[in-house]
Amino acid sequence: MDLLIILASGVATGTVLLYATVGEAFAERSGIMNLGVEGMMLIGAMSAYKVTAATQNPWLGLLVAMFAAGAISQVHAFIAITLQADQVISGLALNFLATGISLVLGEGLTSLRDVVPQLPNFTVPVLSQIPILGKVFFDNHSIMVYIGFIFVPLAWYYINRTRPGMHLRAVGEYPAAADTLGIRVYVLRYYYVFVGGILAGLAGATISLSISPGWFGALTTAGQGWIAVGLVIFAQWDPFRAAFGAYTFGALRRLVLDIQGPSTLLGLANPFFYNPHYAFFLKMLPFAFTVVVLVIGSREANRKRIGTPAALGLPYIRGQRGL
């Protein structure tokens, strides 16, 4: 077990969570909770892989993945925003729908493993020479990891320091107030659900074209979409905190794998190696960790009055009192 490798691997696998989490943060900031992240990621992973297999161009695959997931997110947007239905149920339904579609359309993709090109990996000159940090953050990572580094501060800046970002926050906090000032609440909500879909698609494509390339049905994402939904809360809808949470969670997952590997652990016989079913306990740990961090995080957020957008999950009905 090499700590640097675990951390570097955390950054790589965390990048997937990062995109999905920030995407969900955008949607939820506008007041719409979309529980279909997992399904949208699968759509992204599948379509990216399928298009790349057909065209041999992973960039085209990435682009199609983003639009495919963005498009399917609009099913949820229509049900939650226009039909004003329960967002939890609609999100779950989207999840089943999207998962089903990707499994059907992904038929036969698994066997294409060797003929599908991947997105490039590279080492950043100079920066990779920085001790420790260079190895963790800039050494032989996928290009999607580096894009993630740039994406996080941009997303933060957009939300907190720009006019559209201010409108986004207003729509999720107090849609009636935004509406009286001429902000188009419904349009913005559709738009940010779309953004959430695009980013979930990007996250899915990042898996299938780069981080763990290939199409393995529902195992491609293996529940990471659900982790992202939880991480949004841990991140308190903030991109930097989302990045921290995503990388940490990624590193934990890698650590868990590494603990199972060797036959001896700290000089003792490794119980997880000799009793493989114990590994289920290990695999549970990152999730337990998420729960603990969540509780701590939301207490802190309550104190500082950041946190849950006040109108999250509530349909906005024009002219209804008290909203």
Binding site: R163, E173, A177, A178, T180, L181, G182, I183
Partner: protein, 518 residues
């Protein structure tokens, strides 16, 4: 071109003619005419439901009128949204503030505008907003977040929002309802300074003395019709306005029989409690209520009244101090024990706390005795007994409802309050805590509620009446405590309004008396 009224030479900035607006079952505005001159404060007076807010919501673009014409600066307009109204210079400050709590003052002011395009240069806009605030005497820190501000400051932000958008007509919907007397004074100063600078103001209110105080002219609405259009305030008396508003002579006094106060029922000593945000709301409250008396608790909203009521009823944790009911300790005891001890609460929030909105009248009235004979029989609720009980209460309290299976959310405010009162009074309380029992009710319903409270007093209950309506407190109470920032400022027996007013703004009774001597 601005319309000039040839007879008196005043410029009308707004003129509305024959406005009609219907809501399901109600004609809210029936052929209403309204004129607003430049530089005046024009009061729009009327009872709850008279159609004042509806008329102004039409002007501000929230509602579309079904008939009539509106002219602004001599041009016919038909606003489809508040934004169009603001662009024409008409801004409305609503009773419920439309502010995003997690955003700063500046962000709230800039919300929805095209400027800045993308990047927010907050420090630059902070300065700009500071300037406008200075110009009109609206003191508020542009960088502060809304949740950190007092209600008075939030109102200033709403006004700033409209001024920043270049509004020259400002509609204030019951702006004083949430303010302390000192804040009202400051608001009036601001309004006057705005009219001097050429702005025109519509002041919606149902409080006669404020209308007399601030307005240049007044238009009175009653049941959707104008009963008096644009009279000069100086030419009219308060009694005239009251008659125009209600449509009959108003008795400002209620019949109150003399009842000798008996034993102490409720005694509170040095009570401390936090509010929902974990901040201190009660800082050592001590008071007493005796059998057969109504004790008023006056104070501006948010000074610990609701926390006190909740703590007394056992709904909120008392951190320090002691509550005694009928000489039994009632501090932090389960609510059910309180109910058995004869504590009854009429909460301010009728729809969320006072009743379960989706349950029937029957279910709502048996909530306190569903487990008592004859309705509760072991594990079973005897529904025949429950229906019988509910029907009796429906008759006795004159609850107007098609049948007792109706969900209470379909009831009007007055009938809903009757359901609550029926439940609370029939439990024969020894201590009744009534929070804002008449708020939002029409005159007839108010009288009914007040009569029921007085009947309880005569029956020997101890009543703590928490209200923001001073007139109600004065007419019903035997004594009045005044609460300010979670502390009792003093007690008034003779109904001295001046003293109450001073105490409501944080002057202690001892200080007032010391000044009086000096």
């Amino acid at each position: 071109m601005d319309q000039v009224n040839s007879t008196n030479g005043y410029k009308n900035v707004v003129s509305m003619r024959g406005i009609i607006k219907r809501f399901p079952g109600v004609l809210a505005n029936d052929q209403v005419d309204f004129d607003l001159r430049q530089g005046e404060v024009h009061a729009l007076l009327g009872e709850n439901g008279a159609g004042k807010s509806t008329l102004m919501n039409v002007l501000a673009g929230l509602y579309r009128a079904e008939g009539g014409t509106t002219m602004v600066h001599g041009q016919v307009v038909n606003f489809g949204s508040p934004r169009e109204a603001i662009e024409a210079g008409i801004g409305m400050v609503h009773q419920h503030f439309m502010l995003v709590p997690s955003q700063s003052v500046t962000e709230n002011v800039l919300l929805g505008l095209d400027e800045p395009r993308f990047r927010m240069n907050l420090s630059r806009y902070n300065r700009k907003i500071e300037e406008i605030a200075q110009q009109y005497g609206l003191h508020v820190d542009p960088a502060a977040r809304i949740w950190q501000l007092t209600v008075g400051e939030q109102q200033r932000v709403e006004i700033l929002k409209m001024l920043y958008r270049g509004a020259d007509v400002l509609i204030m919907d019951e702006p004083t309802a949430v303010l302390a007397p000192s804040e009202i004074e400051e608001l009036f100063k601001t309004l006057r300074s705005m009219t001097v600078q050429g702005k025109s103001i519509v002041f919606i209110s149902h409080k006669l003395h404020e209308v007399m105080d601030i307005s240049d002219r007044v238009t009175v609405l009653q049941k959707g019709k104008v009963t008096s259009a644009g009279i000069e305030t100086k030419d009219i008396t308060r009694a005239d306005l009251a008659r125009l508003m209600v449509g009959r002579d108003v008795v400002f006094r209620v019949e109150k029989k003399a009842v000798d106060a008996g034993d102490v029922v409720l005694s509170v000593e040095d009570l401390k409690a936090d509010n929902d945000k974990g901040l201190p709301a009660l800082n050592g409250v001590s008071l007493e209520v005796r059998q057969g008396e109504i004790v008023g608790l006056a104070g501006v909203a948010g000074n610990g009244q609701s926390e006190l009521a909740e703590t007394l009823a056992g709904l909120r944790l008392a951190l320090e101090g002691r509550i005694t009911v009928n000489s039994q300790d009632a501090t932090n005891k389960p609510v059910k024990l309180g109910i058995r001890q004869g504590i009854s609460l009429i909460p301010a929030d009728r729809t969320q706390v006072g009743t379960a909105p989706n349950l029937s009248v029957t279910d709502n009235v048996i909530m306190k005795n569903y487990d008592q004979e004859p309705i509760g029989q072991g594990w079973i609720v005897n529904s025949l007994e429950a229906i019988k009980y509910a029907s009796e209460l429906k008759e006795a309290y004159d609850i107007i409802v098609p049948n007792i299976d109706t969900s209470v959310r379909l009831l009007s405010g007055g009938n809903l309050q009757k359901v609550i009162l029926a439940r609370e009074i029939s439990s024969e309380p020894r201590l009744m805590i009534a929070v804002q029992p008449t708020r939002g009710l029409d005159v007839g319903a108010i009288e009914g509620v007040q009569k029921l409270l007085l009947a309880q007093r005569e029956a020997g209950a101890a009543i703590l009446l928490i209200s923001e309506e001073l007139e109600e407190l004065l007419s019903l109470s035997d004594r009045i405590y005044v609460i300010y920032e979670g502390e009792i400022m003093g007690e008034v027996v003779d109904g001295d309004i001046d003293k109450i007013g001073q105490m409501m703004t944080g002057t202690r009774l001892e200080q007032i008396e010391a000044q009086g001597v000096a």
